[in-house]
């Protein structure tokens, strides 16, 4: 076994993932199998000191530094109780009740 139940619970906390008590034994067993399997990487020789390979362009291209409108998931009309002609409609100030002085 390469991981213990405590290891799995610690990792789950780091990953912000709730793990069921019932699911724990199977998870420990499967994670151990996966980690034992990938551990064969340590038997490979010749990779020490190599620069990691990352595909894609060598240099990041920058976009023009301009503000682009970001679309909303829902229209502004859905974000407030009342919306008219491009404005949020709020009650007139005079209609507010002053809080009672205690």
């Amino acid at each position: 076994m390469s991981v213990t139940p405590d290891d799995v619970l610690r990792i789950a906390r780091l990953a912000e993932l709730e793990v069921d008590e019932d699911a724990l034994p199977v998870l420990v067993e499967q994670m151990s199998r996966i980690l034992d399997y990938v551990a064969q990487l340590s038997t490979a020789t010749g990779s020490n000191g190599l620069r990691p390979f990352v595909p894609g362009p060598d240099a990041i291209r920058f976009r023009p530094d301009v503000v682009n409108p970001w679309p909303l998931a829902v229209g502004p009309d859905k974000l407030a109780p009342a919306f008219k002609s491009g404005f949020f409609v709020v009650p007139k100030l005079g209609q507010f009740e002053e809080p009672e002085a205690s």
């Binding site: 990953a15 990691p52 390979f53």
Partner: protein, 455 residues
């Protein structure tokens, strides 16, 4: 347009495959609307293209096959979708897939597995299994899928259709829900090499919204070559191991014989680090996934867990309830290999191994080989449930496909024969950004190979 109604009818007819996640009424309505506004001058005018559910669309929800994103509607669409629509294509609904594209069978979808069109007891492959099943069943001529470790080519091989994974950086990833950002690419599936290739050509090309997308013109489609004269095809020894399914070997041998008859020179090559590809992949992909999936916490996207006492409790409950077992496993493995004390032993080691795997390919191509030819998968489609209990055995079905993702190279799977009625795929792996050469070879092989005959 009657084409829209016909497309919807064809999709409804194969409902039993559980390959489409979009409800029928919504699909019909959207197709009719899209057809009314589609650009008649586009090169894909009227072509229905089904889209894997991890690619954002405005027309339909984007759930990634997960409960965490149930009912989620993206406020923007993927660049690939914008380009398809600009070419006149119709977005023909969202297809079932393994949750967040993690799996090789669609059995990890929160919405139930898809059915193999030729054998209902078998899986269509995955993770783009819904897309492959719909194309194979004749419901759509082409579909979009996505690849991180073979998720287009493996289901294409299982279902007997064509699947292309482009060079990393050929197609914009904007709007593709990220799984392993250094591996992910959107790919195309089609009935024929041409159907898949013309969809790929439309979605390829530069995009200022994705900094990892190369500043290149869209892919130009080659013409079908007269022969394979002048092509040097390499057969990597490691992809034809002694325990390879004998029928898969027969089908590939027949394809190689046919390529020789077409004038190709064939030679054996070696990619010595192939045996480390799957373990390398299963460190890098979960590591990247654990970061990418951190955003699904119940605050910004999708449903939220009930009864949480504070914000961390909310994160944990939402993620614990929302993610399925395979996604949970990969998040945990990814977090583990990135955690203090294990980073060097696992993650750095895997990244260095990735460099050696990429070097293997460069060495083969430097020695005058134009393309590599291999089986796409070690076996034809497996039975549902067969590999569910053992994650490592499921991972090993990607053994011939993950290398192209690790090295960022283009690859295509096309049907080369059948074994007891089940399709077998052959794969070409090409040089970076030489998709046109790879497609020429695929066109030539497709023309002569008896794809639906027993090998």
């Amino acid at each position: 347009m009657t084409e829209a109604k016909a497309a919807a009818d064809r999709l409804v007819k194969v409902k039993r495959l559980n390959a489409l996640l979009t409800p029928v009424s919504e699909l019909r309505k959207s197709l009719a609307e899209q057809a009314a506004t589609a650009r008649p001058t586009g090169v894909l005018y009227g072509m229905p293209v089904a889209v894997k559910d991890n690619i954002c669309t405005l027309e339909f929800t984007t759930t990634c096959g997960s409960k965490v994103l149930e009912g989620y509607r993206s406020p923007y669409e993927a660049t690939a979708i914008t380009k398809l629509k600009a070419a006149g294509a119709l977005i023909a609904g969202k297809t079932n897939c393994d949750e967040f594209a993690m799996g090789s069978s669609t059995e990890h979808s929160a919405y139930g597995r898809s059915i193999h069109p030729l054998d209902k007891t078998r899986v269509p492959g995955g993770s783009s299994g819904g897309s492959a099943a719909l194309v194979a069943a004749g419901a759509v001529p082409a579909a979009l899928g996505s690849e991180t470790g073979g998720s287009v080519r493996q289901p294409a091989s299982f279902c007997g259709v064509v699947g292309i994974k482009p060079t990393y950086g050929r197609v914009s990833r904007y709007g593709l829900v990220a799984f392993g950002s250094s591996l992910d690419q959107i790919g195309a599936l089609g009935r024929s090499v041409h159907d898949a290739a013309r969809v790929l050509s439309v979605i390829s090309g530069r995009d200022p919204k994705d900094a990892t997308c190369e500043d290149r013109d869209p892919l130009r489609l080659p013409t079908v070559p007269e022969s394979l004269q002048g092509f040097v095809i390499g057969l990597p020894r490691e992809y034809f191991p002694p325990d390879l399914d004998p029928a898969v070997r027969r089908a590939c041998d027949r394809a190689v014989r046919l390529m020789k008859e077409q004038g190709a020179a064939v030679r054996e090559v070696s990619l010595p680090h192939t045996q480390f590809a799957v373990p390398t992949y299963y460190v890098i992909a979960p590591a990247e996934a654990s970061s990418n999936l951190a955003r699904f916490d119940g605050v910004r996207y999708g449903p939220r867990a009930e009864g949480a006492t504070d914000v961390r409790d909310l994160y944990r409950r939402t993620r614990g309830e929302g993610f399925g077992p395979e996604v949970r496993r990969r998040i945990l493995v990814g977090t583990y290999v990135l955690s203090a004390g294990y980073y060097e032993a696992y993650y750095r080691r895997a990244q260095q191994m990735r460099a050696l795997i990429a070097q293997d390919f460069r060495n083969a191509f430097d020695r005058g080989v134009d393309l590599l030819f291999t089986p796409t998968t070690p076996t034809p489609a497996f039975k549902a449930g067969e590999k569910l209990a053992d994650p490592v055995s499921m991972y090993l079905s990607d053994i011939f496909t993950v290398t192209a993702n690790l090295a960022g190279l283009p690859a295509i799977s096309l049907p080369v024969g059948r074994v007891k009625g089940l399709p077998v795929g052959g794969q070409f792996i090409g040089q970076a950004f030489l998709e046109d050469e790879m497609l020429e070879a695929a066109y030539a092989l497709e023309r002569v190979v008896p794809a639906t005959e027993e090998a």
